[in-house]
């Protein structure tokens, strides 16, 4: 009887000690990606608050002319986007960019709703991204009955990602695009899905990949048949990250810099070799 009592008392003691132990807070994982962009996509990563980012994104011509134009590097018709992003408070980023194609001015916002945590209490990172773009072309490009609202397009995206380990991080996304005005045969609304990720192979370098698929959904199309639907965007690239810069060099099939343009207007078919080289440079300042 005495022995049983002693064992019970010892168990109660151990259990109460365990109950008193305060669990340490489950911290976010180390950054799943080295920067906020991944070829043509956004990542769930937002830098520290009061960070200013300057982005230079450049796409060359298609590679299909071979060496005659150095695989598109010397071809005319490149696309360029310059952008500034700022993080006013932790996990919230706002930005403005200006693209050469259609002189789109895009105003964007990104928010990391929840970061992935180390002990898997929250196993994925969840972020949302949205932008509004203003087509900056001459009003004559918008046909009859021009109104300023014809210039607007909208993009919104849910991003879910996971850092599996030190070398592999993957994301999936779902997005909705709306253009107030489009050309004949082109839908105003588009739902897309995509996945992308990085494979870290050295302290500063990673391989990047992306595949974005505009979906053909009968219930939201305005047309009886798909005459020239937007094609998927395949991309593969190499990222180098330093203390103050991120550099991307990549091959991708869409020529747009803003996601809604690629979701609605990309007619380049990567299965037929319609790819182009591109690069991005991001410069970070911390205040």
């Amino acid at each position: 009887m005495k022995r049983i009592l002693l064992i019970v008392l010892a168990l109660i003691g151990v259990l109460s000690l365990m109950a008193q132990e305060e669990p340490t807070k489950d911290r976010p994982v180390r950054a799943p990606f080295n920067s906020g962009i991944l070829i043509d996509n956004q990542t769930s990563v937002i830098p520290a608050d009061k960070t200013l980012e300057f982005q230079i994104q450049h796409k060359f011509g298609k590679i299909d002319n071979g060496f005659s134009d150095l695989f598109g590097l010397y071809a005319p018709g490149a696309n360029i986007r310059l952008a500034l992003n700022y993080v006013p408070i932790k996990n919230l980023q706002i930005g403005y960019g200006l693209s050469r194609i259609r002189m789109y001015s895009d105003f964007s916002i990104k928010y990391t709703i929840h970061e992935q945590t180390r002990r898997n209490t929250f196993p994925v990172a969840v972020a949302v991204f949205a932008n509004m773009a203003v087509d900056g072309r001459n009003k004559t490009d918008f046909g009859n009955n021009y109104k300023f609202g014809n210039r607007y397009s909208y993009f919104s995206q849910l991003i879910i990602g996971r850092r599996f380990n030190d070398w592999l991080s993957v994301q999936a996304n779902a997005s909705f695009t709306h253009y107030n005005i489009t050309e004949p045969g082109i839908d105003h609304d588009k739902v897309s899905v995509g996945f992308n990720g990085r494979v870290n192979f050295s302290p500063q370098s990673s391989i990047l990949f992306q595949y974005d698929i505009p979906l053909k959904i009968k219930s939201i199309t305005e047309h009886r048949e798909w005459t020239n639907p937007a094609k998927p965007n395949l991309g593969v690239g190499w990222e180098i990250r330093t203390s103050t810069h991120a550099f991307h060099i990549y091959l991708s099939s869409a020529d747009g810099m803003i996601p809604q343009h690629n979701a609605v207007y990309n007619t380049n078919d990567w299965t037929k070799g319609d790819m182009m080289f591109g690069f991005s440079i991001v410069r970070f300042w911390n205040f």
Binding site: R27, T51, D166, P203, Q204, T242, S243, F284, F287
Partner: protein
């Protein structure tokens, strides 16, 4: 009159050229750091944590190597652009600093040594770099 003027001008240019070639342009050695007491006494909670070795090397490569060099000898590609020698991490003089002092010098910085509080935000990552710098001891 004109000849005198040109003679004096030539002398002035020659004197300037001589001075320009003579003035030494060595990097100056950094003055001793004025480190606050709370950092001198700061303890490294991840001391001897071998699991952080790879992380420390990654962060050092990204943020430090360009000035401080692969082995911390102050011979990185950007080192020559600095007015102050970045320091020799392998020396006994450097390694005799406490972990807290190394933390201050690495993360808070001064002058040409940037502040990394916003770039290396996680405490574990900061100490991982300090642990990695300790491995550079000769």
């Amino acid at each position: 009159m004109k000849r005198k003027f040109f003679f004096r001008l030539t002398l002035a240019v020659a004197a300037f050229a001589m001075v320009a070639f003579i003035i030494p342009q060595e990097q100056k050695k950094g003055a001793p750091w004025d480190i606050p007491k709370e950092y001198k006494e700061k303890k490294n909670p991840f001391k001897d944590d071998a699991s952080l070795e790879k992380l420390g090397k990654t962060i050092y490569s990204k943020h430090c190597r360009s000035c401080h060099g692969n082995a911390g000898l102050g011979d990185g590609v950007m080192a020559k652009n600095q007015k102050t020698f970045p320091g020799d991490f392998s020396s006994a003089e450097f390694q005799k600093h406490t972990d807290g002092e190394l933390y201050y010098m690495s993360i808070i910085g001064r002058d040409e040594m940037p502040n990394f509080e916003k770039k290396i935000t996680d405490e574990e990552e900061r100490w991982a770099v300090i642990n990695y710098i300790r491995t550079m001891k000769k």
